[in-house]
């Protein structure tokens, strides 16, 4: 179990170094996703399985999809087509794939050893987290809901096409 933690840490650090040194944004994103998945395995090794699932679903899923959308939106036609063909050459995907294979091997090992010795730390169950979240921390949950609403309104306001919005306002 300790080996799992250190191996995942190594993968996370290597992937993070790659993120800040790449020049192409899509390559950096591939490495960033690997880094987040490695951190999820670290959480799992520490006995925080609920947070590990959240890390995969929200960070590696939702937030990275937002990044990919924006990067694809900003790309211009000819340059994007050239990038697509570049993406299919092995030199680009071999690094992230090798790192992700390490993580996959760890996951298979986890399933192989079975349930009884699953974590290096003491397991904190999702039930305890839910009780804490809606007990002493309920004001934080309310504040988080307000933050998400203001984030939604702010992103909608900023994301509007600039000229379009002004013209419409002067028309009406």
């Amino acid at each position: 179990m300790n080996l799992l933690f250190y191996l995942s840490s190594l993968v996370a650090v290597i992937a993070t170094v790659q993120v800040i040194t790449r020049t192409n944004a899509v390559h950096a994103l591939l490495y960033l996703i690997v880094s987040l998945l490695a951190v999820a395995l670290i959480f799992f090794a520490l006995g925080a399985s609920f947070v590990a699932a959240l890390e995969v679903i929200i960070y590696a899923g939702a937030i990275m999809v937002l990044f990919i959308f924006v990067i694809m939106m900003l790309n211009l036609g000819g340059q994007a087509a050239k990038q697509e063909t570049q993406l299919l050459t092995p030199g680009i995907w071999i690094g992230p794939s090798a790192l992700i294979l390490v993580l996959a091997a760890e996951l298979i090992y986890l399933f192989a050893i079975g349930q009884e010795q699953l974590s290096a730390g003491t397991e904190v169950s999702p039930k305890e987290i839910g009780i804490a979240l809606f007990g002493p921390y309920v004001i934080g949950v309310e504040l988080a809901s307000m933050l998400l609403l203001s984030g939604l309104v702010g992103a909608y306001h900023l994301g509007r096409p600039h000229r379009h919005g002004k013209d419409k306002r002067s028309d009406s």
Binding site: G121, G154, H162
Partner: protein, 102 residues
Amino acid sequence: MATVPMEHGLILAALIFALGFVGVLVRRNIVFMLMSIEIMLNAVGIAFVVAGARWAQPDGQVMFIFILTMAAAEVSVGLALVIQLYHNLKTLDVDAADSMKG
């Protein structure tokens, strides 16, 4: 069964935080700077979860959930700003946006 020492987890968090910090300082492409900020937030989350696992309390994971919420709100507003910057200046270089209007 030996457990992972808390110091090692905190060293990992500090290392990843430092990498994200270097990324913010070194890169001038605003998308990379946003990614580095995500890395730093994630490192802080690792520190919280490690501390929560050390004392076997749910508080660390609760704080991580709040950080996750904050990161989601931050990245949606940040990416909307990136799109605005690109529409106005036709570049992703933050040094192009070094002057204010008015």
